[in-house]
Symmetry: C2
Subunit: 547 residues, 2 copies
């Protein structure tokens, strides 16, 4: 019997990872991370609990990646540290980004990356014959994974939309999907993100049309914030820049990285002389420039947030400028994005965002597209994946309406073991599948990241810093609560107290009052000091109170 | 010169309050509160800084209320404690709710409430001749306020939409607005909440149509969560209950209060025998019941959240039930509402909400309605109010497009003093207008609420409680950080420490793991103890960490 075990991505948005286990061999589809919620104080990243794979490390034959978004590949470095994965399969662009990520983590030599052309037929991975099928999404080169074995044929959709006019012309391959459906599909694991939304998701091309309408009509500087990995959107923006005689400045580490990789692999087509560096912006008139940057989610230390709060080295926004936020706030980020929009509007910029202009489309299939996939693949059973419970349930309802029998609807959770054999798909077991927290020293510091589960956390301790800022700029020294630092930690705590006081005074003197920024800076300074002195990585919770 | 000073509601959503000052006399329009953001740890409510009025208490002649939403009337009790307001003007339903609120605060005798029929002509308030004009909104009896004086005529829209088919038939009075426009309007202060949204807001009636489609087709129990003050929506839901032979159970203190007041004043029409008590629900079949409750914002201690987390005394949700969340999450509440939806869906209920069914409409005018108001009133100058900066700016843009000259567009902030005289409207000064925090002992405890501004906070001190919960249910005693408790506070702190440990252990033993609930309970227990011992009200910040 084929055992299918989602380690993440069910009952949540993020950290997608699914185990396929047959005859003592394991293949994993995707290894994603999630971002912490506000209540996960002091946590930088959340990973699936990969204990099941660690305990069976010698059985793991391969990881197959559907696409390069963080919620599908972000846990890969942490998996590779614990489990010797012999092979990683993926498309060209996916592996391009993954290679860069593994390189940063110093893990590139430990694994073989195997590039697959979706149109070049099947390959073997463990006990499976695998085909990749092109799916349109908000990142190039996304695919569905079809796993055929003695247990039957499973289609794992990955993230997708049915975009008939994608920017690169590489449409969701409905012909291949139909062909696979005609051969017979025993189980479909399908993306449920937009299962509650009626109709069709508009094509990525419509965003380009909006850019072509908006940008030529503007006289000032153009700033566009988007997800760094959405290189087709960036390409569409830059195309309009070129047509309107604007030079492009790419701001933000991840945006620069993605643009570089996309250009070098041929996924973006921009001449070298289109780009200028941030320090060259001052030499150009506003109407000669476009700034493409990160920060569409209002992330505290991102380019756009720094620009909005007038805290960026080289870029500022003025009356007459136009800022386009070409993204939707991820739930939980709404207030931060609104704050950034208000700050930018206050500087006199016109701010266009998804609520007032057609400058963003989703990367996920809506209800009519989910119905279309069900009609093409005609699966005997359906297991909704990628989504909160309400989305999975909505997807299950669509499957029912498509004629999938009730016995073939598998509403699983993280850790559910779904069995597939000649008798069909059904829930057969349950394993532990919680969260693993990652707490780094600071942004960009990826070599020394701490990986811990809930049990290991206590070993390194917890350090809580409480700082208060007054309206009058008073900044009394922050107080510290330490747990699990053990005997003889007083000298270290004294030193930490001094460091906190010093950092905090500096920040307040620099007029930095945004609470999130104060928290980040305090966290990073104390984490570094503890690590330098002890090599340990306590969870650090900065609490800043306005009084 | 007429001085117009917004004390709140500009650059934010909430705590709307505007001062009109002429010839040494002051009239205030609305006195609203706001709800704290996550970073306002330990704060229950946020009020406008009313210092300007306190310093001029003897000049205040009246408060005029546009409608009874908390963001327009919630600060009234706190204003009345500091400023002897002789008269409060409002419509019948507005005063009905306000009377109940003032009664709870023991403030009813201190003020004269004067009911105004909008169709009955004008009245005098201080130096102004005042007219009220009916406006449709998501609460009955909303009005715009027209203030005529030697300085000219000002229209203050309040919250509104142009609903041509409101449930009570009382439409936005476009005829009166046109007549006032024809007489000449010098300044319009207009609601900007939806100024970024294209088109028209659908009529409240469309929600009734959705109820009439959805409810008769359902066999199980129906739960509807909405804002307690939206009594027309509740009426529409109950009408369908009556038609389909369901009894109605009203759950949640504020919902019961609003329904009672609305019925006794004639704003709802429901026969007594339609209602059942929660303890009678068990005697009825699911298809014979409808539960109308609060909690549409996922508030931690509300009826719907308790029901979703299986923590409600009398109501639970099962497979076959339908839950209708007839509200939109206020920004910042999205994750809580999503959590509640997922919990309910997991219990087997079908959950309908604004993303998957037409069960909610906004109470605010969209762009075409704002244009219509501008066309009717034809103001010489426009001052956008009620909204974040981006919304005010969008409204200003609509005013420009409507032909208001640039010199007549007044983009003000809280505390801006706008002058109006024969030379028109313009910014003339600036006063302090910050936030005042309210920190109560607990839910429903309104007599002993602490009112404090940032300066007074320090006097009562700050108490931070840090508790950690482990996956295994371990609950080590919480730690306390106290500030500003002064000499000799150790015995009290010891007692607080014991209390915190006891409360926390009980909660964990009761299997209460939701962080927000743990925080609320810790906060309330410690606040009560400190108050009992000292009569003081420190700010109490519960920090609960999952490890």
């Amino acid at each position: 019997m084929l055992r299918i075990i989602p380690l993440g991505g069910l009952g949540e948005v993020g950290k997608n990872m699914t185990v396929y286990e047959l005859d003592g061999e394991i293949v994993v589809v995707d290894a994603g991370l999630a971002f912490p919620r506000d209540e996960h104080l002091g946590v930088d990243l959340v990973l699936p609990d990969m204990g099941y794979l660690k305990d069976r490390a010698e059985l793991v034959r391969a990881v197959i990646l559907t696409h390069a978004h963080e919620d599908h590949v972000g846990a890969l470095p942490y998996l590779l540290r614990e489990v010797p994965v012999p092979k990683i399969f993926g498309t060209r662009f996916t592996l391009g980004l993954v290679k860069s990520k593994l390189d940063e983590h110093g893990l590139l030599r430990s694994v073989e990356l195997i590039e697959v052309d979706p149109d070049a037929g099947s390959f073997e991975a463990g006990p499976f014959t695998v085909e990749l099928v092109r799916m349109a999404h908000s990142i190039p080169d996304a695919v569905a994974v079809v796993l055929t074995s003695t247990a039957g044929t499973v289609v794992h959709s990955g993230d997708y939309k049915i975009d008939h006019t994608p920017v690169d012309g590489l449409k969701t391959d409905v012909g291949r999907l139909a062909e696979i459906g005609n051969r017979g599909v025993d189980l479909l694991l399908g993306d449920s993100t937009n299962a509650e939304r009626p109709g069709f998701t508009p094509s990525e091309k419509t965003v380009g049309e909006a850019f072509r309408t908006i940008i030529p009509a503007r006289e000032g500087r153009i700033l566009i914030a988007s997800f760094a990995s959405n290189v087709h959107r960036v390409q569409q923006a830059i195309d309009v820049a070129v047509q309107t005689g604007r030079k492009v400045c790419v701001v933000g580490r991840s945006m620069r990285k993605n643009v570089n990789i996309a250009r070098s692999l041929g996924y973006m087509d921009v001449a070298d002389d289109v780009f200028v560096r941030p320090n060259q912006l001052a030499d150009l008139a506003p109407h000669e420039t476009m700034i493409v940057c990160t920060g569409s989610q209002g992330e505290p230390l991102s380019a756009l947030t720094r620009i909005a709060y007038n805290d960026h080295q080289t870029v500022s926004v003025e009356r007459g400028d136009t800022v386009i936020i070409s993204a939707k706030p991820v739930p939980g980020n709404e207030l931060r994005v609104h704050d950034a929009i208000n700050r930018l509007a206050r500087s006199g910029a016109e701010v266009l965002h998804q609520e007032n202009a057609p400058v963003h489309v989703s990367g996920h299939a809506c209800r009519e597209e989910l119905r279309l996939l069900l009609a093409l693949v005609r699966p005997k059973a359906v297991m909704p994946i990628h989504g909160e419970f309400r989305m999975l349930e909505a997807h299950a309802q669509l499957a029912r309406e498509a004629g999938v029998p009730a016995s073939g609807i598998v509403l699983a959770e993280n850790g559910t073991v779904v069995g597939l054999d000649a008798d069909g798909a059904r829930i057969v077991d349950k394993i532990d599948a919680g969260m693993t927290f990652v707490d780094g020293l600071g942004v960009g510091d990826i070599h020394d990241v701490a990986l811990r589960d809930r049990r290991r956390l206590a070993e390194d301790g917890v350090l809580i810093v409480v700082a208060t800022v007054g309206e009058d700029g008073a900044a009394p020294p922050p107080e510290l609560i330490a747990r699990g630092f053990g005997e003889g930690a007083e000298p270290l705590l004294d030193e930490l107290r001094e460091e906190a006081a010093e950092v905090f005074t500096e920040l307040v003197e620099d007029d930095i009052t945004e609470i999130k920024l104060l928290q980040e800076h305090l966290h990073d300074a104390l984490a570094q000091l503890v690590y330098d002195r002890t090599g340990r990585r306590p969870m650090i919770l900065p609490v800043v109170v306005e009084v």
